[in-house]
Symmetry: C2
DNA sequence: CTGAAAGCGCTTACAG
DNA sequence: CTGAAAGCGCTTACAG
C-alpha cells in the first residue's frame, strides 16, 4: 500500500500539499493539483482511515441502534431503513455500525460497544428505544436522531412518518368505498406512531360524521404490547365477541393486519366483502399474503437516507435547535379493501 | 477523554507498561499490574481504536456482504445471520460493516467502500454472491468465508447448512405420515442449497421405494430464478395443470412454500388434508401464515456466530487449508403437514 | 520486569 | 500557493 509520502515524492511536492488536495481544502495551483492527482491515480493511493481518524479525532462511524424485538420481527421495516442509510453513506466517508439493544436496558451493562469506546460520531435510534439510552446519549453529548419515535413533552432531532395523514387517508378511502362500520386494531400506545395512526382514524370518522366515542370504543382493540400478528388475532376475537358488525378494520400496522386477516379467515369471514382490512407500513409480506393487503406505504429507504442526512448535519453543527422532519406516505389499495 | 499517558502518570509507570497490561502481553509485576488496573478504572480509560489500529495495521472491522435481493426479501434470513455474527463480535474488538451488492457486479465500479479502502480485515459473504467478487477477494488475498453458498469444483472456507439431511428428513416424515405422491417446487439451481435439498428429496423417495425419474419429473417444478412466492405459485399451477395428483409438496424454502400455499388456497385445495406443504429455513412468517407452515429449522443465529469464528481463525492464520463447517438442522412439524 | 524512543500515516496551524 | 514540523494515541522492538 502506498502512503501519502509516496504520492508526495512521486508528485515532487510536500505531504502537506497532498493532504490539501485529498481533502479539497485551501488553494492549490492548477499544475500542482494535476501532478498530485496523477500521482494518486498511478499509485492507486487511498488514505488510511485510521491515520486520518487519529489526526482528526473523528471516528467516521455512525451507530444504528434498534430494539432487538423490532429487528427479528416478521417485518424487515428497520432493515430497510438501515439500507437507506447505508446507501446514503456510500457517497461519504462514513460507515454504519448496526447493533440491537434489549428492552430492559441498563447503560452500565448493555451499552453498545461502539458507545462505550466512543467509536461513533453519532447515532441513529430506530423505532422504540429505551429511554435511559436516550438519556445516556444526552448526558454524554453524543449527537443522535430518533427515527419513527418520540417522547411526548420532549423535542429531539427526529425523522417521523406522517402517520396521522396516512391513517386519515386510509380510513377515509374505506368509508368512501362504502364501508359503514370501521374498527381499529392496534398495539401499544407506548409507540407514538400507534397514537398518531389512531388519531388519524378517529378524525376520518368524525369528518365523515361517524365520530362518536361509544362507537369507537366498541369497535377498537388495543393491547399494551408490542404489535404482532397475535395482537391482530386477539383483536378480531374481541371485537366480534361483542356481537359487533364492523365491515372494515384499520390496523396500526401490517404485522397486526396479517394476524387480523388470519383470524377472519379462521372464522370464515370474507375479505374484503364482509370485512375489509387495511394495514400500515407496506412490508414485503403485504404483497404476498392472501388476499393481498391494502396499506399505507412508508418509504423506508428514504427515511433512512434522511436520517443519515440529518445526523450528519447535527454532527457538523451540534448546537442547532432540534428539528423534526416528516416523511409523507401513500395509500396503496390492494385486494383486502 | 483520558489517554494512555494519563494512565501511566497516575500509575507512576511508563506508557509501554500500560500498553502491556491493556494487551495482556509479556510479564508485569503483580504490584505494577494492580496500580495500572486501578488507574484505568479510576480514569475510565478506553484505548482509542484508531490509534491502536494505526499502530497495528489492523482495521478491527470485518465486512458482511449480501446480495441486495436477498436482503430485501420477505425473509429476514440473512439479517438473522448478521445478528448472530454481531452478537459473537461483542466479546471481541471487532465491528461488522454490512453492505449489499448487486447481481451484476463489476469490481471496478461496485466494490464496497470498505474493500476499496482496505477497511476490513476479512469478509463474510452470505448466500449467493457474484463470482467475480470472490475472485477479487482471492486476488487481493482478503480473508473471507462463504456462508450458505459454494461453487462446485472449488473449495473455500465456508459455513454450510445440512441441506441434504434436512430435506431427507422432511420428505421422509411426509411419507411416513401417509402421503404417497410428493412433489418438489424450487428455484434456481445456481444456488447449491437448492440442489442439495432436491437431492435430499430424491433420496427420501428412493429409500421409500418411490424413486423413479418419471414420477419425479411429473411432480417437480423449477424456475431458473431466485426463489420467491411467485415461483411457488407458478409451480403449483404447472404441477396441477399436468393433471397430477400430488398430495404433498416439499419446497426448496419457506418463501416458495408461502407462494405454494397461496395458490393452493386460491384453488380451494385443503392444506394439509388434500395437499401437505413443507418448507425449509423456518423464517418468521412460517409461524404466522395460515395454516402455519411445517419446515426445517435453520439455526441462523448459530450460523452467524460460526461464520465469525471461522473468519477470525483465518485472519489469525491465513494459510491453513480451507475448511467447510456444517450446521445441522431440525424438522419442525406444524399445521401444513 | 520496565522504560525511552521510534514509528504507524495522516492533519493542521504556522511561516513564508 | 507550499513546506517543515508538531501532534494525534497507540504498539513494538530494543536495551537494560
Amino acid at each position: 500500500m502506498s502512503t501519502i509520502k509516496d504520492v508526495a515524492k512521486k508528485a515532487g511536492v510536500s505531504i502537506s500539499t497532498v493532504s490539501l488536495v485529498i481533502n479539497k481544502k485551501g488553494y492549490v495551483a492548477q499544475k500542482t493539483l494535476e501532478k498530485i492527482t496523477n500521482a494518486i491515480k498511478e499509485l492507486n493511493y487511498k488514505p488510511l482511515h485510521s491515520a486520518r481518524k487519529l489526526a482528526t479525532k473523528k471516528t467516521g462511524n455512525i451507530g444504528y441502534i434498534v430494539w432487538d424485538v423490532h429487528f427479528s420481527e416478521v417485518e424487515i421495516f428497520y432493515s430497510q431503513i438501515f439500507l437507506g442509510m447505508e446507501y446514503a453513506t456510500r457517497e461519504t466517508d462514513n460507515y454504519i455500525l448496526l447493533t440491537t439493544v434489549k428492552e430492559h436496558f441498563d447503560p452500565k451493562v448493555d451499552l453498545p460497544r461502539f458507545l462505550k469506546y466512543k467509536d461513533v460520531d453519532g447515532v441513529v435510534l430506530a423505532g422504540r428505544v429505551p429511554h435511559n439510552l436516550i438519556d445516556y446519549l444526552e448526558n454524554q453529548s453524543v449527537p443522535f436522531v430518533l427515527v419513527d419515535y418520540g417522547i411526548s413533552g420532549k423535542i429531539y432531532n427526529s425523522i417521523v412518518i406522517d402517520n396521522y395523514n396516512g391513517a386519515f387517508q386510509a380510513v377515509d378511502q374505506l368509508i368512501k368505498s362504502g364501508k359503514k362500520n370501521i374498527g381499529f386494531v392496534g398495539g401499544s400506545f407506548y409507540h407514538p406512531s400507534v397514537k398518531e395512526r389512531y388519531r388519524g382514524y378517529k378524525e376520518a370518522l368524525e369528518v365523515n360524521g361517524k365520530g362518536n366515542n361509544k362507537y369507537i370504543e366498541r369497535n377498537s382493540y388495543f393491547k399494551k404490547e408490542e404489535t404482532s400478528p397475535e395482537v391482530g388475532q386477539i383483536g378480531v376475537k374481541k371485537i366480534f365477541s361483542n356481537g359487533n358488525t364492523v365491515d372494515g378494520i384499520f390496523c396500526c400496522n401490517d404485522t397486526t393486519a396479517l394476524g387480523v386477516m388470519h383470524e377472519l379467515k379462521n372464522q370464515n369471514i370474507k375479505i374484503p366483502d364482509e370485512v375489509a382490512v387495511v394495514g400500515f407500513d407496506d412490508i414485503t409480506s403485504s404483497s404476498f399474503c392472501t388476499p393481498t393487503l391494502s396499506t399505507v406505504r412508508v418509504p423506508k429507504f428514504d427515511v433512512g437516507k434522511e436520517a443519515f442526512k440529518l445526523l450528519s448535519e447535527i454532527i457538523e453543527s451540534p448546537n442547532v435547535t432540534p428539528q423534526t422532519r416528516t416523511i409523507s406516505v401513500e395509500y396503496i389499495k390492494r385486494q383486502s379493501s
